[in-house]
């Protein structure tokens, strides 16, 4: 079959699986599957947002977990202060993430390469320590969210199935948005900058402006993941911003395939499911996971999507 593309098939299969998951959970009585996959879908959204700057924009941000925290704390703090409406919490979560991205981006984008990686990491760690010092909001111990975001009669976030579908809609919506963006004028410019910044400036593009806007879009989308994550765990703590969390997101993107639309989603699903399965077998699961990831990255340049692509071409 000439036109058969393993990547498309795998993607379609995965999306169908995600759509039908609550049904499986219902029929089999496996509630845990739904809980696990709600978390996976939210982190896939975060990975997809990171992919926009990392895969398409060539900006290796090592501080993306900061937005998970900012989005989460926006929900947690507002809930604590008695503002339970999701119509307030979610916009605030997005706006706060956008603002943080604007400031951090404006400063970080003066640097390139390793320095950019280190400075984004440094800012995220700073956010981590700031959150740890918020005594009023739990400090190190974090903050319990007693009531999930209230969207009136529209949707009930405390209902597992409804919440799962909200997260999945968020994920698919974000992937669709990224698909539009990367093919738009803006997206082509950003990818051009990844390819050859000097050339892009020579033909008349102010590089940093476009990179900064891309950085802000990516951060804002990840803020959405943060707000969902806080609702999912009914809890927010500085730990979600820790640098290892940023590393996890990077691994998901690289594992799935940088600069591919569904790569980060595949990466998140594979990474988190593997983590779950292996940790059931042995507490030293990281010993198996590490080499496994290494193999995929070494032999499948372009991650899982890259591997599938090569199989299809024969």
């Amino acid at each position: 079959m000439k036109n058969f593309d393993m990547r498309t098939a795998a993607t379609a299969l995965m999306v169908a699986g995600l759509l039908l998951l609550p049904l499986y959970s219902q029929l089999s009585g496996n509630v845990f599957a739904l809980t696990l996959f709600t978390r996976i879908v939210i982190l896939a959204l975060a990975a997809a947002s990171l992919n926009l700057i990392m895969g398409y924009g060539g900006m290796m941000s090592f501080g993306h977990a900061a937005y998970l925290g900012i989005g989460g704390y926006a929900v947690g703090i507002l809930a604590q202060e008695g503002l339970g409406s999701g119509f307030i919490q979610f916009p605030v979560a997005l706006a706060a993430s956008a603002l943080y991205a604007l400031v951090i981006g404006a400063l970080s984008l003066r640097t390139r390469g390793v320095y950019f990686i280190m400075i984004t990491l440094a800012f995220a760690q700073m956010a981590y320590y700031v959150a740890s010092s918020l005594a009023r909001y739990g400090g190190d111990d974090g903050l319990t969210i007693y009531k999930r975001s209230d969207f009136g009669g529209l949707i009930n976030l405390s209902n597992r199935t409804q919440f799962y579908y909200l997260c999945l809609a968020g994920l698919l919506g974000v992937v669709f948005l990224i698909w539009r963006i990367v093919n738009s004028r803006f997206g082509v410019v950003v990818q051009g900058l990844r390819s050859n910044e000097q050339r892009m400036q020579a033909i008349g593009f102010p590089a940093n402006r476009y990179k900064l806007v891309c950085f802000v879009i990516s951060g804002t989308l990840c803020g959405l993941a943060g707000a969902l994550l806080a609702n999912n765990t009914d809890f927010i703590s500085p730990a979600v911003m820790y640098w290892t969390r940023s590393g996890d997101l990077m691994v998901m993107v690289i594992l799935g395939g940088m600069g591919t639309l569904f790569g980060p989603v595949v990466g998140a699903v594979v990474y988190l499911v593997l983590e779950e399965l292996l940790s059931q077998v042995t507490e030293y699961w990281a010993l198996i996971m590490g080499p496994l990831l290494l193999l995929i990255v070494l032999f499948g340049r372009g991650g899982i999507m890259g591997l599938l692509g090569r199989f299809s071409r024969g």
């Binding site: 803006f186 082509v188 051009g192 390819s195 050339r199 892009m200 400036q201 020579a202 033909i203 008349g204």
Partner: protein, 255 residues
């Protein structure tokens, strides 16, 4: 007298102890093809990079059509009509030839903060790209990835990209570098055509090409302009001959 399109005044650029550009002054009139020649290491590319804004001079000034552009960012100079090709081919290698040119057209068609419409389906940009590719004879290779183009084709694409920005002034940094005899001849023919439409500053080692094309030639040696004149006068210039002693045959052999 009308302002020259490009005026360079007392430009100085040092790298550590070396003065790569040593009080260079240069006028390029509208419509002229001005060649810059000089032995290896004379500072030709350093000069071009300062003209395009990729390198900042330590002193001196650059005027484009009377406007001081000495401290403008590269992309702003492009907006004012300055385009360059690179000595070492510098393209978006993971894009197709058409995409490379379309981006150049897009850069000069308002801002690119448009997030929804598919840029590759914008007929205006595609037409502009197609036209520029036709100019350099690459239209049949439009959908090929740059990394799969031959070296000669990449050199032609460099030119198409520069043309797509609709420049007033084209700075060509050794467009013939690495080209075979037939490819070079094609490039010369192409430049013959282009010079009718756009002012060109040409840095080139190929003396045949330079003397066939140039209205004026400036000779750069150790960062200094030792002569700037019409080709006939340059050929006769004693100082130029001395500077080119090792390469003297190159200057004199081709009548």
């Amino acid at each position: 007298m009308v302002d020259p399109l490009l005026r360079v005044k007392d430009l100085v650029r040092r790298f550590g102890g070396i003065t790569a550009t040593d009080r260079v002054s240069l006028d390029v009139a509208q419509g002229e093809l001005h060649a810059i020649i000089g032995p290896n290491g004379a500072g030709k590319t350093t000069l071009i990079s300062q003209l395009t804004g990729h390198l900042t001079p330590h002193s001196g000034s650059i005027f484009l059509a009377g406007k001081d552009i000495t401290h403008l960012a590269a992309w702003r100079r492009s907006a004012l009509g300055l385009a360059r090709s690179f000595q070492i081919t510098s393209l978006l290698t993971d894009f197709t030839a058409a995409d490379n040119v379309a981006l150049a057209a897009q850069a000069h068609d308002g801002h690119s903060f448009s997030f929804w419409r598919n840029a590759r389906k914008e007929s205006g940009l595609r037409r502009a790209a197609q036209a520029a590719l036709e100019r350099v004879g690459l239209d049949h290779r439009a959908d090929v990835l740059v990394s799969r183009l031959s070296h000669g084709e990449q050199r032609e694409l460099e030119l198409a990209v520069a043309l797509a920005t609709r420049p007033q002034l084209l700075l060509l940094d050794e467009p013939m570098a690495g080209l075979g005899i037939t490819e070079s001849a094609r490039m010369v023919k192409l430049l013959q055509e282009l010079r009718k439409e756009v002012t060109i500053v040409l840095v080139e080692h190929d003396m045949d090409a330079v003397f066939a094309l140039a209205d004026r030639i400036s000779v750069l040696v150790y960062g200094r302009v030792i002569a700037s004149d019409v080709p006939v006068a340059i050929r006769q210039n004693e100082e130029v001959k001395r500077a080119y002693l090792g390469d003297q045959h190159v200057v004199t052999a081709h009548g």
